[in-house]
């Protein structure tokens, strides 16, 4: 999301819809019984989902309570995970979740935005549909298939062709040190990147398509090149929607389990180097839940689930805020999100 320049929207267009203070149907309220029943049913349905989230949170919290009581806040920043001695600290998993998602975003955002910009602004008409379709097809591949591909194709490829030059150039930084065994934070991040590209690309493409052509025409009319038109007129106009697209991808990256666990190395350890194995919260829960025999072990896993839940909610809330702040004008896509 940092790749987008936040510039003032050139000539913010007048808002098309003037939202009235009251819902449109307000004047019809209470006209007859069937309307009231209809309204009641819809209200119940609408309340059902928020209630579900509250119930989910409550259940997680209650199940995690023994671990919260016993380990307190140190659960968040200690890194020993020893089921035999019943000592639990989730810091490596929290770190691994955030770090793998960050790597995924660093790779996926430029790629996905590039695809979206190419498809909406530059590609010849006959290319657009097939390519858009293929990119979206990536989203339909089950994550275990990505995992298998990661184990048998991506990791050997990284080991032979990517990591040696990477170490030669950037080996002096703390991020690329140590021996590369294959299963690593880097592999996990790359797999995640590939998995979230279709989401970011598809939503960004919709957002860019919704930018009125008057924006482009105005920029081109002022002597801008096509690239300048995209960069100064189209992208800023759609930035709220684009941020939404990125956050959607981030949300998916945070919670992805199967593909990540197959390539990330599943090690309860914090290493700054992307070449070292790591662990994510979702992967640890999936791996360890079925054999968690003691109550404290189960409770610790529930607490990990609670932390993941809270982080996901926070990320989404942050995205909302960002979109609202950026979209104070009438940027495209803000309403859809």
């Amino acid at each position: 999301m940092t790749t987008l320049p936040i510039e003032p929207v050139p000539a913010a267009p007048p808002s098309i819809e003037t939202p009235s203070a009251e819902p449109r149907w307000a004047s019809l309220r209470g006209v007859n019984a069937s309307d009231r029943i209809y309204r009641g049913v819809l209200t119940v349905l609408a309340l059902f989902l928020p209630l579900l989230i509250v119930a989910l949170f409550a259940q997680l919290f209650v199940s995690a309570l023994p671990a919260i009581k016993r380990y307190g806040f140190s659960f968040l920043w200690t890194s020993t995970w020893d089921p035999v001695a019943e000592i639990y600290g989730a810091a490596p998993m929290i770190f691994g979740t955030l770090a793998s998602s960050l790597i995924a975003l660093l790779i996926a955002v430029p790629l996905a935005l590039g695809v979206a910009i190419f498809l909406t602004e530059f590609a010849p008409r006959w290319v657009r549909q097939p390519v858009a379709f293929l990119v979206e097809m990536l989203a339909a591949i089950p994550s275990v298939v990505y995992g298998l591909w990661g184990v048998f194709v991506l990791i050997p490829f990284l080991r032979s062709y990517v990591v040696p030059p990477l170490k030669a150039v950037l080996g002096w930084t703390p991020f690329f040190q140590g021996v590369f065994y294959g299963n690593s934070l880097l592999a996990g991040g790359i797999i995640l990147a590939i998995m979230i590209v279709p989401y970011i690309a598809a939503v960004s493409r919709e957002v860019l398509l919704a930018v009125p052509s008057s924006q482009r025409e105005a920029a081109l009319g002022m002597g801008a090149t096509r690239w300048e038109a995209v960069w100064t007129a189209v992208l800023p106009y759609g930035r709220a929607g684009l941020i939404g697209a990125v956050i959607l991808g981030l949300g998916r990256a945070l919670g992805e389990t199967m593909a990540v666990t197959m390539v990330i190395g599943n090690r309860h350890d914090i290493a700054l180097s992307a070449l070292q194995p790591a662990y994510t919260m979702a992967a640890a829960i999936a791996n360890e839940f079925s054999e968690a025999t003691t109550n404290m072990y189960l409770s610790a896993l529930f607490e990990v689930g609670l932390i993941l839940f809270v982080i996901t909610v926070l990320v989404n809330a942050l995205a909302r805020l960002l979109i609202w702040r950026v979209a104070r004008g009438a940027a495209v896509g803000s309403k859809a999100l």
């Binding site: 089921p83 050997p156 065994y181 294959g182 666990t261 791996n287 079925s290 025999t293």
Partner: protein, 352 residues
């Protein structure tokens, strides 16, 4: 399509006809014996159509949990229940061993074709991270004639909780005081070094893809997938390759110490016996001592006794080692002690 549906419906109706005699038994637990359990259930059901058995392979921990909660009629586990877990259900549980297995040390060393030999302390020190190169003097000294590369050792362990990890760490705990104090045994432990793979297949894939890797998988899995695995020195000082015979020999070695009143919660690792493979494991069915439903208990006892007798013959083909014959009278005695409503349910099984 329509015909087959009609047939299925007809079969369903026929099956439903003697509904009064139908018994439905649900079980869940260890995934290691799942293949033979499913085979047993299928074969037993053909001979006894009135008994419907169902076993879900959800893992040992889940099996113990569901069995203790009373969600299922019987459980399956690769790691025996702890004393506190047994106390939590007022001791209402019997461990009935079913088949044996072995855990092998599998490795990926390009260029090495000979079967490597491992001593217990070498295995422990590799997994403790103290031996880090394949050409370490302690590995080389027991593998005379093998040219070992100077590559790093990459340890691969199970990331998911598993009975296989329990067996492996149980063995290391017995042979290495340092392992016992630093790590201990469990279906998931705090591994000092290494990468985690999900399931036998995850460990196998990581080992196969990583030159210099060493991991542990079940013998049956390693055999089917033609993986390289090593011999391990047993307590008698002999290097033994993991075979089904060596596993049954391990059980026989432990048997001598058990006695007829055993609760079967024994560990097969590091047993006596010159031909015994030291990392052998046992898997158990968990049944209650008392059941509320006599018909259920009767059918369950009948099934288990069938599995312990006729069923054992199916084990070798499926990659499991059968139990030693000497165990049968002891198992029979346990099954005879199961009651429902205060009465033993064995009588019906006598026909078997």
């Amino acid at each position: 399509m329509k015909t087959s549906r009609f047939l299925a419906l007809a079969a369903l109706l026929c099956a439903a006809a003697p509904a009064a005699a139908q018994v439905q038994l649900n079980g869940a637990g260890a995934s290691f014996p799942n293949i033979i359990y499913q085979k047993w259930i299928l074969t037993f059901n053909q001979a006894n159509p009135t008994t419907q058995l169902n076993y879900q392979s959800i893992g040992s921990g889940g099996g113990i949990r569901q069995f203790s909660d009373g969600t299922v009629d019987f459980g399956g586990t690769d790691a025996p229940m702890t004393d506190s877990a047994i106390a939590a259900i007022q001791g209402n549980v019997l461990h009935i061993p079913t088949v044996l297995g072995a855990i092998v040390a599998t490795y990926n060393l390009p260029g090495v074709t000979a079967q490597l030999k491992f001593t217990p302390d070498v295995l422990a020190d590799i997994f403790l991270g103290k031996i880090t190169k394949w050409n370490d003097a302690r590995i080389a000294s027991v593998n005379a004639g093998v040219t070992l590369p100077a590559t790093d050792i990459v340890v691969v362990h199970r990331a998911d909780g598993s009975g296989t990890s329990y067996g492996w760490t149980d063995y290391l705990t017995k042979v290495s005081p340092e392992w016992a104090s630093q790590v201990g045994k469990g279906s998931s432990v705090n591994w000092p070094v290494g990468l985690g793979g999900r399931g036998n297949e995850g460990v196998a894939a990581t080992v196969n893809q990583t030159p210099g890797a060493i991991g542990y998988v079940e013998l049956g899995y390693a055999t089917i997938n033609k993986m390289a695995f090593g011999q391990v020195r047993n307590s008698a000082g002999k290097f033994v390759a993991p075979t089904l015979e060596a596993v049954t020999a391990a059980a026989a070695g432990v048997l001598a110490k058990m006695g007829a009143n055993t609760d079967f919660r024994v560990s097969l690792t590091n047993p006596d016996g010159a031909t015994a493979y030291p990392i052998s494991t046992m898997t158990w069915l968990l049944v209650h001592k008392t059941y509320a439903d006599a018909a259920k208990a009767k059918a369950l006892v009948q099934y288990i006794w069938w599995a312990e007798t006729e069923g054992q013959a199916m084990a070798p083909d499926l990659g499991y080692a059968p139990l030693p014959q000497q165990l049968r009278p002891w198992i029979q005695a346990r099954l005879k002690s199961i009651t429902a409503g205060g009465h033993p349910v064995w009588a019906g099984s006598a026909a078997q």
